[in-house]
């Protein structure tokens, strides 16, 4: 018994050295079945992942078609309400509509070098639409629901074979549609990039540079008086907070006469912001302030 080998030989002989035959085949079958059901489960998981993503895609697609129609409005309805006190917060419906009749107006510092000509300060991607988007986002942050129309107006012009002055006709279609669908809209802004030189389009406040704003009102539209009052209110509010940021209210007739679609709403104003030499950052600083001004006015007029 001192010998290890004897000990192990004994041990080996002690117990049945083979499992029962029935057990061996039964276990093999069990394993086969389990392997099969695992495979089925995997296929099922794969299938359900694929089918649910197809469903989600179909839903989004139909949602886009249903809400946007042929106008291709990509509406961002910011309706993050809350129990807080302000006017806008009580409303879940959009109160501000932002659009761009000249959506490709851009900024030279944001463009690649080969586009650095004055007449070429246009871009299909890096353009004034980003500024409107930022304004919409900032409004959302302070619980003012808005709709930002990102329609590629210039693209539609090209598609339909129209000319640049027809931009307002194109942007008008969506504006009319949105106003008809949302009687909650209280303010309408057509945001453009101004064409002033940098020294006129920029102002330094507390060490930071901001793009300046001009409010343009069409003299030839039926709502001229109310639009002018609204524009003046915006200008004065800005003057109070950041003197010099607003250049003022400009009355235009347009050549040929243009209403800038302002007859469609009482509080409709065309914004000219910054210039081709401004950066998006300078623009965004201004929209930040402007968003707060809008909220103040909405609360006051409640």
């Amino acid at each position: 018994m001192q010998n290890e080998k004897d000990l192990f030989d004994m041990l080996k002989e002690m117990y049945p050295q083979h499992p029962r035959k029935e057990f061996v085949s039964a276990t093999e079958n069990t394993l086969r079945q389990r392997a099969r059901s695992m495979r089925k489960k995997r296929i099922l998981t794969k299938f359900s992942v694929i089918s649910s993503s197809v469903l989600v895609c179909a839903f989004i697609f139909s949602w886009l078609i249903f809400f946007n129609g042929n106008g291709k409005v990509s509406e961002i309805i910011h309706s993050f309400g809350g129990a807080s006190s302000s006017y806008a917060m009580d409303e879940k419906e959009p109160v501000v509509y932002i659009y761009h009749s000249h959506n490709i107006e851009s900024f030279i510092p944001e463009l690649p070098a080969q586009q650095m000509y004055r007449e070429r300060a246009y871009s299909d991607t890096k353009n004034i639409t980003l500024v409107g988007k930022e304004l919409s986002r900032e409004l959302e942050e302070i619980q003012v629901p808005s709709i930002h129309d990102e329609t590629d107006t210039a693209g539609i012009l090209k598609q339909k074979g129209l000319h640049f002055p027809d931009s307002y006709k194109v942007s008008r279609e969506n504006l009319q549609k949105v106003l008809a669908e949302n009687d909650s809209i209280r303010m309408v802004f057509d945001i453009h990039r101004d064409s002033n030189k940098r020294r006129d389009s920029t102002i330094e406040i507390k060490g930071k540079e901001y793009a300046r704003i001009r409010f343009v009102v069409s003299k030839t539209n039926g709502n001229f008086e109310t639009n002018k009052t609204f524009a003046t209110q915006l200008h004065e509010q800005l003057e109070e907070l950041y003197p010099g940021l607003s250049i003022g209210v400009i009355e235009k007739e347009g050549n040929p006469p243009n209403t800038y679609n302002q007859e469609l709403h009482d509080n409709s104003v065309l914004l000219e912001m910054g210039g081709i030499e401004n950066t998006l950052e300078e623009m965004y600083r201004t929209t930040d302030i402007f968003a707060q001004v809008l909220k103040d006015i909405l609360e006051k007029s409640k």
Binding site: L7, M14, E28, T30, R34
Partner: protein, 179 residues
């Protein structure tokens, strides 16, 4: 990564290669054919679940045995306070058909060894069986038990020493009683 289409054939192949080794380890560990069969099945079900993630960093056989060792120790913990271990052993022995006196001698000795093994703590038991019965090398054993080679050597020697000491005491005891 194993293609799920091949999973079935893959697990059957693995099972047929290794079930006997796994069973022998477990039958020595538990001392009971029924338990050993149940646990063998349990081991291969765990292998099936893990095989698609098995990355080949380890040897397949030592990987399977590390599962078997876990299954065996889990089983030991569950049965710790029950006497099923012994009962199973007695039932099995009584089914052997041999001549009465011969049977008695063999049975007596087997019982001693069985008891001595059963009294070893589970880690020692695993080392002894892996090295002695399954004839794994020291390196393989250290992979299965996930410890150093030195620990395998030390544990193996201590376990054997304890086993022999127990057996000698028991045998002496039996002889004394017989006188």
């Amino acid at each position: 990564m194993i293609d799920s289409n091949n999973l079935e054939s893959r697990i059957v192949e693995i099972y047929n290669l290794y079930y006997l080794d796994v069973y022998r380890f477990l039958v020595c560990f538990t001392g009971n054919q029924n338990d050993a069969e149940d646990l063998t099945q349990e081991v291969f079900i765990r292998v099936l679940k893990g095989v698609s993630n098995f990355d080949g960093k380890y040897n397949l056989k030592t990987w399977i045995f590390s599962i078997a060792k876990h299954v065996a120790i889990d089983h030991y913990r569950k049965k710790r306070f029950t006497s099923l271990f012994k009962d199973g052993f007695f039932n099995q022995l009584s089914s052997n058909e041999k001549k009465p006196d011969e049977e008695f001698e063999v049975t007596e000795l087997k019982l001693l060894i069985h008891d001595a093994i059963a009294k070893l703590k589970p880690n020692y038991r695993a080392v002894v069986i892996l090295r002695g019965i399954n004839e794994f090398s020291i390196i393989e054993t250290s992979e299965i038990l996930q410890c150093s080679e030195v620990k395998v050597k030390v544990d193996y020697h201590r376990a054997l020493k304890e086993l022999k000491r127990k057996l000698n005491i028991e045998i002496e005891g039996v002889l004394t009683n017989a006188k």
